[in-house]
């Protein structure tokens, strides 16, 4: 089952490497050290959170820690679902690599070792991609014309994550986006993102109740 997991991880690896390279390059462009960028990928192993961390660290340390963790709170749901479907004997090990893509692929699994196979390849490709990005970053950034396009990778990543998660949650995306935009306009960007994450579920539930009545 472990080998089957390794094979099944190929699409994940193909998807991870370019994003990890972009993360490595972006992290260095934003001001992270090479070791720090690789360390982030080795310890966190969560794409959107890592991008959020590097983009918020210059604005507010508290937000740079809280918002990435809040972003990953959806993994609480993943953990619940996986452990209900599969007999998880070593959660300490299995939990580390439970990313969005690993979770989605694991839904077809019936053995914990299959998930380990997925996680090993996904993790190695993520760290390797970051390393490539970090090492090639200096070359890419030596030409300043690249910088805005590399920073745009953050926008592109959040956009893709948004369109892949928006189904049935359009109102939440709209409320979150508008809330953040208003705070962003008045110069309270980080606070706006945090409030968007906390207030939106309440607003959506209220709207749903009003609609039902």
């Amino acid at each position: 089952m472990f080998k089957r997991g390794l094979i099944a991880s190929v699409p994940i690896v193909i998807g991870y490497i370019p994003v990890a390279i972009t993360f490595g390059v972006s992290a260095v462009a934003i001001g992270f050290g090479r070791v720090e960028a690789v360390l982030a990928s080795m310890l966190i192993f969560a794409g959107a959170s890592q991008f959020a961390l590097i983009s918020l660290i210059s604005k507010s340390f508290v937000d740079a820690v809280i918002i990435p963790i809040m972003l990953n709170l959806r993994h609480v749901v993943y953990g619940c679902i996986i452990s209900q479907r599969i007999n998880i004997r070593k959660p300490i090990l299995t939990a580390f690599g439970l990313t969005d893509e690993v979770f989605a692929t694991s839904l077809n699994a019936n053995d914990e070792k299959f998930i380990w196979g997925l996680e090993v390849c996904a993790y190695l490709s993520w760290v390797l991609g970051t390393l490539i990005g970090v090492l090639c970053g200096a070359v890419l950034l030596s030409y300043t014309g690249f910088a805005p396009s590399l920073v745009f990778s953050l926008t592109a990543l959040f956009f893709v994550l948004l369109i892949s998660n928006i189904k049935g949650k359009m109102l939440a995306a709209l409320v979150g986006g508008v809330t953040a935009f208003v705070f962003h306009y008045f110069g309270y960007t980080s606070m706006g993102i945090l409030i968007a994450g906390l207030v939106t579920p309440i607003v959506v539930k209220v709207c749903q109740r009003i609609t039902w009545q």
Binding site: T22, A64, V76
Partner: protein, 107 residues
């Protein structure tokens, strides 16, 4: 330990616990309300991050136009291939081409 290191370690611990705790204490995390809250909160956060990374004040119309044009290509490539990494890569390349074009041939 620098601020960056501390932030990385704290986010790593938080991320790991979010993945580990529901697996370890599965029975205690069964709540429909929590599921819904987290689902809407995640989408709202991604949307908020997207909006604030796309728009910066004061708005520079040319920069914003280039980004929006590149996002159209990101959207098309994601709809076609369903590959997150590839779509981001397409976005970067298109953004770079448009940015360079704007520098070489300003409106």
């Amino acid at each position: 330990m620098s601020t960056h290191h501390l932030a990385i370690v704290l986010v790593a611990i938080g991320t790991y616990l979010a993945r580990f705790l529901p697996m370890r204490f599965n029975e205690k995390f069964k709540s429909k309300w929590l599921d819904e809250f987290l689902t809407y909160s995640s989408v709202a956060l991604i949307s908020a991050l997207f909006v604030t990374s796309l728009v910066s004040f004061p708005v520079k119309p040319i920069d914003l136009s280039v980004s929006i044009a590149a996002l159209i290509f990101v959207f098309i490539s994601y709809k076609k291939w369903r590959n997150l990494g590839l779509s981001v890569l397409v976005g970067i390349v298109v953004h770079l081409i448009f940015s360079l074009s704007m520098r070489l041939y300003p409106l």
